[in-house]
Amino acid sequence: MMKPMEYFKKSLKLCFLLLLCTMLLPACEYDSDDDNFHELQKPTEQVEIGVDLAGVNPKETIYLYENSFLYYTLHTGGKEVIAQKFYLDGKEISLAPGDRGVYLHATADNSIHDLKLVMGLPTGSGSLAEYAGYEMYVGEFNFKVRFVPVSTISLNIRQTLDEQNHLKLVWDKPEGYEVESYYVYNGDAGYPKPKAIITNPDQTYYVDKNYAYGYKFYIIIAKLKNGNEVVIREDFLVRYTNVNQDNFEIERISPDKFKIKWTNPNPFPCKYVFRSLYDNKVTVLEGATELVIPAEIFPSISYNFHLYILPAEANSSQYESYGLVWGSFGDKKVGYNFSYVADPVNSMLLGLDYTNLFRYDLSKMDLQGVIKHNLILHSGCKVKTSNKGLVAIDDHNGTVRVYSNNTLTNQLAAVNTAGFDFYLTDADQLLATSYDGFSLYDVHTSNLICSKKWNTTDEWTSMVKVFTRISVDGKYIYTVRANYSSNAQIAELYQLTEADTLRLVRSQDAVNITNIEFNPVKANEVVIQYSDFRFKILDVITGDTVTGYGTFLNIDALTGNLMYYGADIQNGQSNIYVWDTAYKKVLYKFTTAYSDIYARLYNNQLLFNGYCVDLSKMTYQ
């Protein structure tokens, strides 16, 4: 048996050992030496890796747009890229292994930047390191790049002319950039066509011999050396002067022809193709700027044409691809007035409408002025003049106001004619007609000079047709009273004596007269129109006559020429003839599209249904 003290010591020792062993127990926990080792062949192959930065030479400075996307192609011998990184000036750019482009966020600062591409390809060993991305073939490429601003560089394109006046575009070489070539495009903004490639970077101009007129859009592109698609571009719109209505001069030279002339304010060598839309005829003009063209018989309301302006060396058959001027014109229409009369002393044509008195010059029939007459008119109201410039207008009440001139500022007299016809003379008289006689007034005093009344019981008072005319000097008054139902007619010629009395000079029965007009130029001549398409010019003093055949229209108050429709008017022909003042020579023959018995001749200007034409210019037969 052990002693208690010895027992205690042994037990204490035992407990210490037990505690020690217990603390060591975790060292006995589960463990395994099986690391599942695989024998693999270490990769030794070296591969060639290449990069294609969209065709540029990687050994030279590469031009890129600022803040642009750089596309590239990697040549890896069929191996998949498992890692790639771009570094711009040492700063990594986020990129996925499958990306084939990189966004380079950089501004153009005129400095050269370092661009580095590091890429990894798989070794194919299948090792743990390869799976973990630590074993790969690594390639590295270093580039020098320079960033180009997209829009701030200007080529400063200007427009000028070369020695032959061809369009010449001149621009500035972009400073600080190495240009490889210039590309010239033109056309419209949406579909520019390539025109030229200028491979000499010092040639900063382009001459376009194929431009003559019209809208044309140019694009000049400076392709930077080693920049692939990196370019400096500028657009330019050619400045030219429009050919408009003011550049055309159009006149009728025959009843069925016009002459059209034009001017081209642009300097570019050109030729013209005139295309008439009247008959679709196409005419090529080289070195000419006028053309005689067929047209509608007078009056023509509108005539349309296209005038193509082609470069001088262009193929004329391709005219439709060039700039053109669209034109439309017709015979001149002076207005829509209901009464016209010549004002010989002022060489004017006066036209009356409900509000105004229009004044046209009788050389070109251009409107010279408009006078508001302040009268109440109807469409039957008339304006009359004398060779001394007096103007008379009747209003809706039948009151005739006589003015000293066509400004209507000075009213001389006001005489009521009850709406019947009235005439002014160069003796400052106003003839007021009526069915039962006539009255002659002094326009300065409105006093009655003389009058004539037919017997109210006379069967003539109920006649249908009465007309009375007075000679331009106021000395002769011709009256015709006709009863058309009975064909009875009487014509009487009166002379105003020095005592302001009327002396019957001549009286005729059964004369079959349809109209009488005194010659506005020759005071003693009167033109008598008969119903059988015959008219007679009678000298009331000598009794001499000249007979014409047709329908008398009028005698030009400025030239004295006599105008009438030829006798063939009865056959539907509308041929106007103009005699000279001796009535011996036909000055003009002019055919109209239809007949108008109100056609008048003023200063050789034919006024026809509101249209006018200068017969003195009918030079083309």
Binding site: L17, E29, S32, N36, L40, L128, Y131
Partner: protein, 231 residues
């Protein structure tokens, strides 16, 4: 190797003791059911295998492993009553290695079983100075389980060592009941050797870090051999 050294130390310690109470140490071999932990390892394997080289596999799947047992008991007549403690350990491992590096993902489970023990001896026979007897034993206990997770990647060139974040390791507590039968040979009054065989029924709870989906099930056979020092 260190586990064998420790077992030998325990045996020598017991040989030097006196008899009154019994102190026993036994080294054993235990199997573990661990079905759910195997599922957990399989899930982990399926996750990593797609990114790992061909050949990556589970090299250990919670195999049977060495146990350590220490008993303290008081004997009166044929009955023994005392304390019983055991250290259990096993694990799972996913591994791959080659010339370029090594990948290891390991789940280690350690169990500390502490409980009571009741033993009844019978069939005693004497052979000269030795006594041969049999015993039956029943041990209820509490098992403290510790789960450890570790995943490492080592690349040799370039030298890389990476460790995966650990969101798996945790502790768990469970109950168990272990019946045993054995035979003991007493050489002297103080020194005995014994062997035993039995089964450990484990009633563990779920592991918190697996969203309470998996539990460590230590259930399995037990086979021990040891020595008893009586004083």
């Amino acid at each position: 190797m260190k586990k064998y050294i420790i077992a030998t130390m325990f045996l020598l310690l017991c040989l030097g003791a006196n008899a009154q109470f019994n102190i026993s140490y036994a080294v054993g071999y235990g199997g573990y059911k661990m079905n759910e932990m195997k599922q957990l390892l399989e899930t982990a394997f399926n996750t990593v295998v797609t990114t790992m080289p061909v050949g990556t596999r589970i090299v250990d799947n919670f195999p049977p492993y060495i146990t350590h047992n220490l008993d303290l008991s008081y004997k009166f007549n044929r009955h023994e009553l005392g304390l019983k403690s055991s250290f259990l350990t096993t694990g799972g491992k996913i591994a791959y290695s080659d010339y370029s590096g090594k990948y290891v993902e390991k789940l280690t489970l350690n169990g500390y079983r502490v409980g009571a023990m009741y033993r009844i001896n019978f069939g005693e026979r004497k052979f000269d100075a030795c006594t041969w007897s049999f015993f039956g034993e029943l041990s209820p206990a509490i098992t403290f389980t510790k789960l450890k997770y570790k995943a490492t990647l080592d690349i040799y060139d370039p030298k890389v060592h990476q460790t995966a974040p650990d969101n798996v390791s945790t502790n768990e507590t469970g109950l168990s009941l272990q019946p045993l039968v054995g035979s003991k040979l007493s050489l002297t009054r103080t020194i005995s050797f014994f062997v035993s065989l039995g089964y450990d029924f484990e009633f563990g709870s779920k592991l918190a870090t697996t969203n309470d989906m998996y539990r460590a099930d230590w259930s399995g056979f037990r086979m021990n051999g040891g020595t008893t020092f009586s004083f």
